[in-house]
């Protein structure tokens, strides 16, 4: 039996494709297999031995942090509640999980085969257990053999000797310095690059020095534009000899989490690629800028679809850079600057109308780059400079000028450090753009790409964070068999509005998406996934999309998850994040409870309230308390933060309140519940239930009452009957101060007013009470419709003697 996965087409790797993909280590399948390898058998036994299963697996780290492509290595997936691990899910093709072994609750060992032609760089992985999905973690494929550091190696005398073009994996503990020596010939390129913070483990800010053994400094790097906190050096050796390479934390800090992959060799390590982008599908001639070791070119085949950041690995003399440079892939052509273009008269002229991409380099201090382009009157254009987003050192300032040289638009930091602006040409003519660095700096790696495109509709989807500074929790769909799970999805519409329709491709067999259309006036709503009782356990990576319409054209938005892997000072700021554009969906083993809403048979009226009943169906033996709350509140509706179905209990009433201006509409709502199951938190949802928001049956107004302490009075509420109701409705006067009472009354659909007998205790303090209201409960279909009407009524308690006449008159008038 071969424990491998098919990663190339994730959408087919589920259920029906079982014979192709062996993602699930299902004991039943193992038993059915005709040929069972000893290892597989061991694993099966191990799985049976690990009879305890746990939900919400936690994946804290992957060790080692990466491997060499074309090799097979053992990789540890470390965390908690992993004892029923079945699968390693990889978002990208190229990694093959040959087998899983040594599965405990804390670690899963996997034999990972890196394809010889697998892409270099970052891979995104999760662990799936029979009962849940783990967080997303990263793993790296590199071009070089990997070896681990050996302590002590703090100085030259005990430095580790390594072969050129090796990746060293290690940890910089507190105040640690790791030292390595290599032999290099004169003129040979000596490159060293750290992947530290990019490993997504901790705020590890590495510093790298390359020295001769006599202490002469060759290079010293702390932060680099390309790798942010990850430094690299690339220099030509001044003479034959041994060179010392040291890595430490920049402030002599460090921790057991400060992992690194240090690539050392003769590989090319350019700082930037030019042009910083091209048209999809094209073959692009890229010039790599490397200050120390010179400029060289590569031809690159661009992907067939646009990409915000596309990693390109420089190749020279048969060696590849271990980490990518970044370019932007668009659907339109490139324009390259033609030098000199330092002023308006010498601006590079493009014959293309937008959309177009202007590419250049601010190569010298104080330099400006000018371009001239043609634009049509009234066609709104968006100007977007890609520089820092592609890790260029340039801090661009963009100006758009009309044909007379007047600035008509400018921006510095509209998109982070990069510039972005919109401009609608007032006439059809030539315009200019001028680009420079904010600080007036310039260097050969100050590369930029300016895209000028007609403004277009855009749509994107994401699952909002469910807890502060946590971009991982419930960012996937994990549905137990015969149960439901709901997630909130938010949509960002740019340059258009309107209704959205959700779609998800190739859901696994037995899994259903229950989703309404997203109304034009809302930008988030719940999606409920329901798994059939016989749905096969497994997972799939899917495209979640939404479609809107703008100018009769479909606007499609896709789900994307941004994962902040490293957070730190200040205030858990993001230091390193990665992203995936597939939604991970898994069907897991049966859950010990199930939730449902008792669908209300009456509407929730504006300014009214409702007690929504949530029922838990518990499996035998499961009596843990279940916390429930609304996944989402429709516009104008609020709900209590959380309610608890007590231990052993089966239901709870959950309070909903409607604002006076709540939109009247029949919505679908769902309640999410969670309980501790087998040590982890298991989240399940109810079915989407109909919740109708309607106008109130009755409204009213309280007439102001003046009354003395120790007296009784009549308080009149004028009623407006909006919709008829059956029978009698109980009405209660609310908002009364202490020591004031008024017995409840009943009204019918004919009543135009109701009068309360108000009694004020003799010890009641004088004062004006302006928050009187009436609670009205109308019964329909046996269920209450709670109204709050006549808000803002006034009761004035006045001194006994003063204004007695006024009180008397007022009382008389009321009578």
């Amino acid at each position: 039996m071969v424990w491998n996965f098919c990663w190339s087409t994730p959408r087919f790797c589920f259920g029906a494709a079982r014979n192709v993909r062996r993602s699930s280590i299902d004991a039943r399948e193992v038993q059915r297999a005709k040929r069972v390898s000893p290892t597989g058998l061991f694993l099966v036994l191990l799985l049976f031995a690990a009879s305890a299963q746990a939900v919400a697996p936690n994946l804290a780290s992957i060790t080692p942090t990466g491997g060499q492509r074309g090799t097979e290595i053992e990789v540890g997936f470390n965390g908690d509640r992993l004892q029923d691990a079945e699968e390693i899910i990889c978002y990208e093709p190229g990694l093959q999980i040959v087998k899983l072994s040594l599965i405990t609750n804390k670690v899963v060992k996997a034999q990972v085969k890196l394809a010889p032609d697998c892409k270099l760089g970052e891979y995104h992985l999760r662990v799936r257990t029979t009962s849940g999905l783990s967080e997303l973690r990263t793993f790296f494929a590199g071009p070089f053999p990997v070896m681990a550091e050996t302590e002590p190696n703090n100085q030259l005398t005990n430095a580790q000797r390594i072969a050129l073009n090796t990746t060293v994996t290690g940890v910089v503990s507190s105040e640690d310095v790791d030292s390595f020596i290599v032999d290099v010939k004169k003129g040979q390129r000596l490159s060293a690059e750290v992947e530290g913070i990019r490993l997504g483990r901790a705020v590890f800010d590495a510093r790298l020095t390359v020295m001769e053994t006599n202490g002469a400094m060759i290079a010293d790097a702390d932060d680099t534009w390309l790798g942010m906190q990850d430094p690299f050096v690339s220099a030509l050796a001044p003479h034959d000899g041994t060179y010392l390479i040291q890595i430490r934390e920049s402030t002599y800090g460090g921790s057991d989490n400060s992992h690194y992959r240090l690539h050392i060799g003769t590989f090319p390590r350019p700082a930037m690629a030019y042009p910083a982008g091209g048209r999809m599908g094209d073959e692009l001639l890229v010039t790599y800028q490397s200050e120390a070791t010179g400029v060289f070119t590569n031809k690159i085949k661009l992907p067939e679809v646009p990409r915000d950041k596309f990693g390109v690995f420089a190749e020279l003399d048969g060696l590849s850079s271990p980490t990518p440079n970044w370019i932007h892939v668009s659907s339109f052509s490139n324009v390259l600057e033609r030098l000199p273009n330092n002023d308006r008269d010498r601006a590079t002229v493009t014959e293309l109308d937008p959309p177009l991409a202007l590419n250049g380099i601010i190569s010298k201090k104080g330099e400006e780059d000018w371009f001239r382009f043609h634009a049509l009157k009234g066609v709104a254009l968006e100007f977007n400079v890609y520089a820092r987003r592609l890790r260029s050192p340039l801090d661009p300032v963009l100006e758009v000028l009309d044909s007379k040289g007047q600035v008509v638009g400018s921006d510095d930091d509209g998109a982070g450090v990069d510039s972005v602006l919109k401009f609608t040409p007032p006439e059809t003519t030539n315009y200019f753009v001028r680009l420079r660095d904010t600080l007036g700096q310039g260097r050969p790696d100050f590369v930029y790409r300016l895209e000028i495109v007609p403004v277009k509709a855009q749509l994107s989807l994401k699952i909002p964070e469910v807890s502060r500074n946590d971009t991982q929790s419930r960012q996937f769909i994990s549905v137990p068999r015969g149960n439901r799970f709901a997630t909130l999805v938010s949509a960002k519409r740019v340059n258009f509005g309107g209704e959205l329709v959700f779609d998800i491709d190739a859901l696994p067999k037995g899994l259903t998406l229950l989703a309404e259309r997203m109304a034009a006036n809302i930008d988030s709503m719940p999606l409920v996934f329901e798994a059939a009782p016989d749905a096969p356990i497994g997972s799939r990576l899917l495209d979640l999309t939404a479609t809107g319409t703008n100018d009769n054209k479909a606007v499609i938005g896709k789900f994307r998850q941004d994962v902040e892997l490293v957070q730190g000072q200040p205030n858990n700021a993001n230091y390193y994040s990665t992203s995936v554009d597939k939604l991970c969906v898994a069907i897991t083993k049966e859950a010990p409870y199930k939730l449902r809403i008792v669908e209300p048979q009456v509407p929730l009226v504006q300014a009214g309230s409702m007690r929504l009943e949530v029922v838990a169906e518990r499996s035998a033996g499961f009596d843990a308390p279940i916390e429930v709350n609304m996944v989402w509140n429709p516009p104008g509706i609020s709900s209590q933060s959380e309610a608890t179905i007590p231990k052993g209990s089966t239901n709870v009433f959950y309070q909903l309140n409607a604002g006076g201006g709540a939109e009247t509409k029949a919505w679908k709502v769902a309640v999410l519940g969670h309980a501790t199951v087998e040590g982890g938190e298991l989240y399940l949802s109810t079915q989407p239930a109909k919740l109708e928001v309607a106008t109130p049956f009755v409204t009213g107004k309280i007439e102001t009452l003046w009354i003395q302490p120790g007296k009784t009075g009549k308080l009149t509420v004028n009623l407006q009957q909006a919709k008829p109701f059956e029978g009698k409705a109980k009405i209660q006067l609310g908002g009364l101060p202490e020591k004031v009472t008024a017995p409840d009354r009943e009204i019918t659909k004919q009543d135009q007013e109701v009068v309360f007998d108000v009694t004020v205790d003799a010890k009641c303090a004088n004062g004006s009470h302006k928050n009187l209201f009436c609670s009205l409960e109308i019964k329909q279909n046996g269920q209450p419709i709670q109204h709050t009407i006549a808000s803002g009524g006034i009761l004035r308690i006045v001194p006994p003697k003063k204004d007695e006449t006024k009180v008397a008159v007022a009382t008389q008038e009321k009578k």
């Binding site: 105040e175 800010d205 702390d222 932060d223 942010m228 906190q229 920049s250 402030t251 002599y252 800090g253 820092r388 801090d395 930091d413 450090v417 904010t438 600080l439 700096q441 730190g568 000072q569 200040p570 205030n571 700021a573 993001n574 230091y575």
Partner: protein, 842 residues
């Protein structure tokens, strides 16, 4: 010993330790070292110790002040002062002794001290004394014009002269007794409003001007907390009444402004107490006119015991010493130096050699003061002093022996050159500048990485001998990421433009201009206009977040102004004490940096020179170094100017200036006072006794005990002076007063001894633990050294000198018959480390 931990320290006899110390003549009782060294300085001047025989003096010069007289208007007048200078440097006020006459009395009148206008024209005042004559031209214009009383030119000075607008009176921020004036008159328009419009009818009475409350209060005619400020016949009273009689009007905008005031004479050397010296003040106005302000200016003395000054500028000599006479008028302050020496003091300059220009300037001042410099210190003292001052460490035993055996005459100079070339020299100055630049991490503002990079940048600058003016220019123009261009941290550490301006003035020009943020500086020339105009250079410093969450990108915006606190006007950048520069398409900071570091800048090089001098001498020529102001003059301006000029000519290579200082005889003087200079603390006639600053002391303790330090973020063995982040916690350093780096003030570094320090040295863990950890004595015993050799080694380690015969003899008592000398020798070591001779640089 109290407080010792028995499990880490060997039991020892405190009594023996005490006796060891006593045997060596060392004082170890608590707190003793604070004052013991100063005891020798408590002797008084022996003024009559010299031969009573008088030396004959001759008149060398005499001058009449002001050198020319311009009288404008019918009331134009000028006080005249005549001063004679004698061959021995003594000056005399001979205003009443000299014969003065006008060549043409039709135009002016001379009454003995004043020249008053009569008619338009020109005449000369001929002054004769002891056969010499000089001519003072007198010009009279507008002699028939009686100008209106001006509120700003005439009335505002009344409030200053009468003390009304002092901070303790109506100049307080909330005024006094319901009436407020701007402090020292920084806001005349506001004062006019409060006098005439606030509570209308209360303060001025235009119908009966003499009955105005402002007049009555000043006369004390009605209840006045401030008492009587002037009399009915006083000029102040007359001015007020005249202004009120004329309708109490404000001035038109065209009214001339005071552009500056002058004091005459600039200096005086008075012999004997109760000798008098007049001073006169002349004001210059924007219309070119001049005015005698002697009666309106406020006179102050910083040393009444030596020179007491009356309200009319008459100084009366007191006891021997030096005083600074300050005159204030409006926003302007000027000063003059007065030296008083005893009458009939016979003094003979010892004719010591001058080794360079520093000695020349110091000697000139000493001669004026009749002081004799102390003798030159011995080699051991020089060696230790220079090591500590230049390298922040002690010489090793071998280095000491080698130096003492060297008999070459130039060995001191070679030692200085050797030390200046060492890495430790740069470390010391990096630390000093790191204190000024406040290199210190602060939560969520300055991250440890930024602090470390900033420090490393500074260290690299120093290590590569980048001239100081370049470093300062790079700091002031620092732009970009504070993590990639660490000089930009200058603007990360202090983001407020006003504070930036204050810090820049204080660090690089030694000026504290903070006062002028709220009112004109009371003791200096700086006005609120000066303050906000200077701050305007920093108004356009922009900041934005960088890629790294800990990062800030500093850049120059094209907009942003600093507004005047009172007027709200956006201020045009103006150099402090300089002109308004023309700034076109250029960073304001770059313009400022260029001006600040220009050789023509009167403050920058002087400040640096003073700062460097202070490090080596222990006292600034201007003291404290960052309090340059008119009322705190340099004790030896010629010396300061000479060093500043040299520093500029050295292209700000401060090593060369340090070489000059250390090569001077003045630096090499002994701390021992002679009968003339026992009380002198200002004129560098002897070397100062200085406690080692905290970092150097800890490094020296670690050095002599062979115990490397370990500070967070630094490799083991790093020295305390190498601590990059001022936020690094260390009890020893804090106890010994290291700079917290929270302000730019020179007062951050505290070298005053206190009880905590004494207790820590005696009972704390540092000394005892390091002696045990280092095992210096143990290893020497292991190396078969005799107790005598070990004692000599310890003396050389700690004091850079061998023990004296007496010390050796006394210590031998403790070792006699001792079979286990190690505890005794450890006690000797302990005693040496607790000795004042170790803790102080002398």
């Amino acid at each position: 010993m109290a407080g010792k931990s028995s499990n880490v320290q060997k039991p020892r006899s405190s009594e023996r330790k005490y006796h060891c110390a006593r045997a060596m003549g060392l004082r170890v009782e608590l707190g003793s070292f604070s004052g013991a060294w100063i005891l020798v300085l408590t002797a008084f001047f022996l003024l009559t110790s010299c031969s009573p025989k008088e030396t004959k003096r001759t008149l060398s010069d005499f001058k009449c002040f002001p050198p020319e007289i311009h009288l404008a208007g019918a009331a134009g007048r000028q006080t005249v002062v005549v001063q004679a200078t004698y061959s021995d440097g003594i000056t005399r006020d001979i205003t009443y002794d000299a014969r003065c006459r006008l060549t043409d009395p039709r135009f002016a009148h001379f009454d003995g001290t004043n020249v008053a206008a009569r008619a338009n024209g020109r005449t000369d005042l001929i002054v004769s004394f002891e056969g010499r004559t000089l001519t003072v031209p007198v010009t009279v214009t507008n002699a028939t014009t009686v100008p209106n009383v001006s509120f700003k030119l005439d009335v505002m000075p009344v409030f200053m002269k009468a003390g009304c607008n002092q901070g303790s009176c109506h100049g307080a921020s909330k005024g006094k007794d319901g009436f407020r004036l701007s402090l020292f008159g920084f806001d005349p328009d506001g004062d006019y409003y409060r006098l005439t419009r606030d509570q209308i009818g209360r303060r001025v009475n235009l119908a009966i001007p003499e009955e105005s409350l402002i007049v009555q209060k000043g006369l004390g005619a009605v209840q006045h907390t401030g008492g009587v400020r002037f009399g009915t016949n006083s000029e102040l009273h007359k001015t007020l009444v005249a202004w009120l009689s004329a309708g109490a009007t404000n001035d038109p905008p065209t009214i001339p402004k005071v552009t500056g005031i002058e004091i005459f004479p600039k200096a005086a050397v008075l012999e004997g107490s109760n000798v008098l010296q007049h001073f006169t003040i002349r004001g210059n106005y924007s219309d070119g006119s001049q005015r005698d302000l002697t009666r309106l200016a406020v006179f102050l003395s910083n040393n009444d015991a030596t020179a007491r000054v009356a309200g009319d500028g008459l100084v009366t000599a007191g006891q021997r010493g030096e005083a600074f006479i300050q005159a204030r008028f409006g926003e302007f302050n000027v000063g003059a130096q007065v030296i008083v020496i005893p009458k009939n003091l016979v003094y003979r300059w010892p004719d010591v050699p001058s080794l360079n220009y520093i000695d020349d300037a110091v000697y000139a001042k000493l001669k004026k003061l009749r002081l004799t410099p102390s003798p030159v210190c011995d080699d051991t003292t020089f060696l230790r002093r220079t090591y500590i001052d230049v390298a922040g460490k002690l010489p090793s035993v071998d280095e000491t022996k080698k130096f003492l055996q060297d008999e070459a005459p130039d060995k001191r100079g070679r030692l200085v050159d050797d030390l200046l070339a060492r890495k430790e020299f740069a470390d010391l100055w990096v630390m000093k500048f790191a204190e000024l630049l406040q290199i210190r991490s602060r939560d969520n503002v300055v991250y440890p990485k930024a602090a470390l990079l900033y420090f490393e940048w500074l260290r690299d600058q120093m290590a590569t001998n980048v001239p100081l003016d370049h470093i300062v220019r790079d700091l002031l123009t620092g732009s970009g990421s504070n993590l990639k261009s660490p000089a930009a941290n200058y603007y990360q550490i202090e983001p407020d433009p006003l504070k930036m301006a204050e810090n820049t003035a204080q660090i690089f020009m030694g000026m504290r201009v903070q006062c002028a943020q709220c009112h004109n500086h009371p003791f200096d020339r700086w006005t609120m206009n000066d303050y906000y105009s200077f701050a305007a250079f920093f108004a356009q410093v922009g900041r934005k977040p960088g890629d790294d969450p800990r990062e800030t990108v500093v850049f120059d915006r094209t907009s942003g102004e600093v507004k005047h606190l009172v007027t709200g006007a956006a201020m045009t950048p103006k150099f402090l004490g300089g002109e308004v520069p023309e700034i076109k398409n250029e960073s304001r900071r770059a313009v400022l940096a260029r001006w600040l570091t220009s050789p023509d800048n009167p403050y920058f090089a002087r400040n640096l020179a003073n700062m460097i001098w202070t490090h080596f001498i222990g006292r600034g020529i201007i003291e404290p170094v960052d309090d340059v102001r008119i009322s705190n003059p340099a004790s030896n301006p010629e010396l300061l100017d000479a060093m500043a000029t040299r520093l500029v000519s050295y292209k700000y290579d401060f090593k060369k200036l340090i070489r000059d200082i250390c090569s001077s005889r003045t630096y090499q003087l002994s701390t021992r006072a002679n009968e003339t200079n026992a009380q002198d603390e200002r004129n560098f006639s002897k070397a100062g006794i200085r406690r080692l600053r905290a970092e150097v002391l800890l490094d020296c303790v670690s050095q002599v005990t062979d115990t490397p330090n370990k500070f967070p973020g630094l490799p083991r063995g790093a020295r305390a002076v190498q601590i990059a982040d001022g936020n690094t916690a260390n009890y020893f350093l804090t106890t010994f007063g290291r700079a917290t780096r929270t302000t730019v003030c020179s007062c951050e570094v505290k070298i005053d001894p206190n009880l905590s320090q004494a207790l820590h040295l005696l009972n704390g863990v540092t000394i005892q633990k390091k002696i045990e950890e280092g095992g210096v004595v143990k290893s020497m015993i292991k190396g078969k050294q005799t107790p005598g050799q070990i004692i000599e080694n310890l003396y050389l380690r700690c004091f850079s000198r061998p023990p004296t015969k007496e010390e050796t003899t006394r210590l031998e008592v403790f070792l006699k018959g001792c079979t286990e000398p190690e505890p005794v020798l450890d006690d000797v070591f302990w005693s040496l480390l607790n000795a004042k001779e170790f803790v102080f640089n002398h």
